[in-house]
Symmetry: C2
Subunit: 258 residues, 2 copies
């Protein structure tokens, strides 16, 4: 029986622009007496990646467009934040104070993933520009510093249709195949499986959130013991094309009627 | 640092109607030399719950209605399975061979959760009638047999909008508060958190799937080390009311146009 362990990794200091996240993580891991192993998975919260990459915006310098002013008024929001939401994504639906967009990356989420929590004063963070690329850089940096081959997953917490509560998903990854493909596999009776593809890295992201916690301020988790395939695909593999998504197409039809 | 462990629990035998799942799990746990502890979480796949409860249907005795015949023809499906899909849920959208329903329980999923894999011959399983009630019964049975107070989560693997790949979610639970509520909580700068509620039991379900695996046939996982609140709410708490769900309302508007 192969058990999986998930270990919380607090960082020593607040992350700021230009910080070497790989190094900060390794220092913390060492401080806790843990030895990094090949095939370990490092799960990292979006917030510290955005901070390290300077994706922090001072709202005092944001000038809202007319469209942002109008949406902000309709939905009782800060027009400067709405301006950023519109710069980062295309509105899918705005309803009773909730603005759901599809971001430039393809994520469908509230407020284009813009977040004012855990940033000082009148600042907000934007999602990383290319979290797959960042995950790859961190993975290579870990290898350069330790000689260990790990996987890296960058996560954020999103709401979802149909169900209450938010869950952690993978917005970037490197060194781990995002999907387990069961298509063509057979069950113990020789029948095709109902489950066709498991979104492995989203499940790892959700698992890691269990030790990360928002108010405890633990931005990193180490997962050990999971069997996974190394691959070259990143988390962007999990973004469904608009044309293939039933609910995005329904939303589009409704919006065309208005 | 409190780490979390996830341990796969294979069962000795195939589960059949009337089986005592709690007892089967305890026997397996014992066989692997594990001692059950207070606050352990047992995560159980829907399939064995449905089998134990006799929610297995022999398709040879299912007579499709006209509506089922029509939908089956349009979407190239077995009319008998479509008949069961319609009995178990209300169609939200049927599109290119995919029939998405809202089940009697309130789950929005493909094919009303009906599954022909891992059941013999021309049989399929339906979702448990009331997985929260089942989770409660298993939890109480574990207590009666061992004196240990555990949480129980029953899971199934569902697709979701916007993202490729399926993930495990909680369809029933007992002894664990389904949501972590951060509303009103403050971050380290005194600002409100972006994340309002975490769907804890869905994250536990996804984490457990990492050791369960569809083709490996491991129907149970034991999670140890998670801090959680005991509560009386079950997984049905996570089902969003139709009126509150933006995408279900969009779907409804489109369907009214046709």
């Amino acid at each position: 029986m192969d058990k999986i362990e998930i270990i919380p990794i607090p960082l020593d200091s607040y992350v700021k622009q230009g910080d070497d996240i790989a190094l900060l993580i390794l220092e913390s891991i060492k401080r806790f007496g843990i030895e990094l192993l090949d095939n370990d998975i490092l799960v990292i919260a979006q917030k510290i990646v955005s901070k390290a990459e300077g994706r922090v915006i001072d709202l005092r310098y944001v000038l809202p467009s007319e469209e942002a002013e109008r949406l902000a008024y309709e939905h009782n929001k800060d027009a400067r934040i709405v301006e950023l939401i519109l710069r980062e994504g295309r509105v899918i639906v705005a309803y009773k104070g909730v603005i759901i967009t599809r971001t430039r990356h393809g994520f469908v989420c509230a407020n284009s993933g813009i977040d004012s929590s855990n940033v000082k004063g009148e600042h907000v963070t934007l999602l990383p520009v290319d979290a797959d690329a960042t995950a790859k850089i961190i993975r290579e940096r870990i290898y350069a510093l330790t000689g260990k081959i790990v996987a890296v997953i960058i996560t954020d917490t999103f709401g979802r249709p149909f169900r209450e509560g938010q869950v952690n998903i993978a917005i970037g990854s490197a060194g781990i195949e995002p999907l387990i493909d069961y298509r063509g596999s057979r069950d113990m009776y020789g029948k095709e499986l109902k489950v066709t593809q498991i979104a492995l890295i989203d499940e790892v992201a959700s698992a890691a959130e269990l030790v990360m916690g928002k108010s405890r301020g633990i931005p990193v988790a180490l997962m050990r013991g999971l069997s996974y395939s190394t691959g070259n695909d990143g988390a962007s593999t999990l973004i469904r094309d608009v044309e293939k998504d039933i609910f995005l197409n329904l939303a589009r039809q409704v919006l065309q009627h208005h």
